[in-house]
């Protein structure tokens, strides 16, 4: 019981920072549909509380929350009923499905959530060079299909 109280107090202490990170990431992901953001953030924080014993021991709880937010947003995106414009969400899903799992993870964090390379590398547990390589390949594969929503072009950044 005392462990539960301590765990709860630690979660309470971390809640402001984590919910802010989750909210920012979800808002950038669902920039075309704000109505889903609140549910996505609430779901992400519920999962964080559910697995808090693991999250609190994680090397980077913030990175864990970012990755979890990405997964929750993708789930909401695939459940087209959650979004107001199923056509856009369907287009995003089709575009992301063209990528491999690793490329998709990097692309979502880098281009859809606007995370920098360092944050993406820490969140995914990899190196920045790998993040850069995968991001480039993902961008070529997406062929500018997400340019209208996320501004991701096929051209290399200047």
């Amino acid at each position: 019981m005392r462990g539960d109280e301590q765990s709860r107090s630690e979660f309470d202490a971390s809640f402001p920072g984590l919910v802010t990170v989750a909210c920012d990431a979800a808002r950038r992901f669902f920039r075309f549909d704000e109505s889903v953001v609140r549910n996505a953030v609430a779901e992400t924080m519920a999962q964080a509380f559910e697995r808090w014993e693991r999250v609190r021991r994680h090397d980077d709880p913030t990175g864990w929350v970012i990755v979890r937010t990405k997964d929750v947003c993708l789930e909401f995106l695939r459940a087209k009923s959650e979004t107001e414009d199923p056509a856009i969400s369907g287009n995003i899903v089709d575009t992301l499905d063209r990528l491999s799992k690793r490329q998709r993870d990097v692309a979502v964090l880098r281009y859809l959530m606007d995370c920098d390379e360092a944050t993406t590398a820490v969140a995914l547990g990899t190196t920045e060079s790998k993040v850069r390589t995968r991001a480039e390949r993902a961008r070529h594969r997406m062929r500018g299909d997400l340019e209208r929503v996320y501004g991701v072009t096929d051209e290399a950044p200047v």
Binding site: S9, V19, T20, E34, R38, A42, A46
Partner: protein, 231 residues
């Protein structure tokens, strides 16, 4: 302690207007706690079921003796090998089934005699049992030809086989011999002649019991022979 330091975790959160930190916090804690409980229950069920599987598997292995039941099968076959052949002449490889073997054990006198009969044959203790074995062993070839002919000879041989010793059985053989010479069927005469051997066998066959191959002896005749020889 820290709980007092952060009485309202959502107080310090500055989110854009549409978002309510308190609402998110309450949702996260309530739903998260519920899911956590379900997950713990699931883990408990999984661990208990896993322990049960391990315990039941161990108990099953322990009951079977650790060899997966092969030992019991081997014991059954070993115990039934001498008895099964004694029951039916036709089904020599009887030891396959347990149920058939276990039931006759109770009804067919005692299982020990057939074994001891072979051993005693050497020692010469029970000459009667030795005579028994040799007699039926010699009768065997007679029964098969009778079966091929007709039903009539079969009952005769069956009746004659138990009596072979001396008293009641001796009459039938002579009858058959008398009928045998009858011009009807010569093969019957050939077959009936062996019964004369039966009459002779008890005396001459005494040394033969040592033959181990004579194991397959019908169970029914053996007890009758014992009684007579004992008497």
């Amino acid at each position: 302690m820290t709980e007092h330091e952060h009485p309202d975790p959502w107080a310090d959160v500055s989110l854009p207007p549409p978002f309510d930190a308190r609402e998110i916090y309450e949702y996260a804690t309530s739903v998260g706690a519920q899911r956590r409980g379900e997950r713990r229950r699931r883990q408990v069920v999984l661990t208990i079921s896993g322990l049960l599987v391990v315990a039941l598997t161990g108990a099953g292995i322990g009951l079977t003796g650790g060899d997966g039941g092969e030992t019991s099968i081997q014991v059954a076959t070993q115990a039934s090998i001498p008895r099964a052949p004694a029951r039916s002449k036709e089904t020599v490889p009887a030891p396959r089934r347990r149920g058939q073997e276990s039931a006759p054990r109770k009804s067919a006198a005692r299982p020990a005699p057939p074994r001891t009969s072979q051993c005693n044959g050497h020692a010469g203790v029970t000459s009667s049992s030795a005579a028994r074995l040799t007699a039926f062993h010699s009768v065997r070839p007679l029964d098969n030809p009778h079966d091929t002919t007709t039903t009539a000879p079969v009952p005769e041989t069956t009746t004659t086989t138990p009596p072979p010793p001396e008293t009641t059985t001796t009459p039938p053989p002579p009858e058959t011999t008398t009928t045998a010479p009858a011009p009807v069927t010569t093969p019957t005469t050939r077959r009936t002649t062996p019964p004369t051997r039966i009459g002779v066998s008890p005396e001459t066959v005494l040394p033969q019991p040592a033959v181990p191959g004579s194991g397959p002896v019908s169970p029914s005749p053996s007890p009758s022979v014992r009684r007579r020889t004992r008497c």
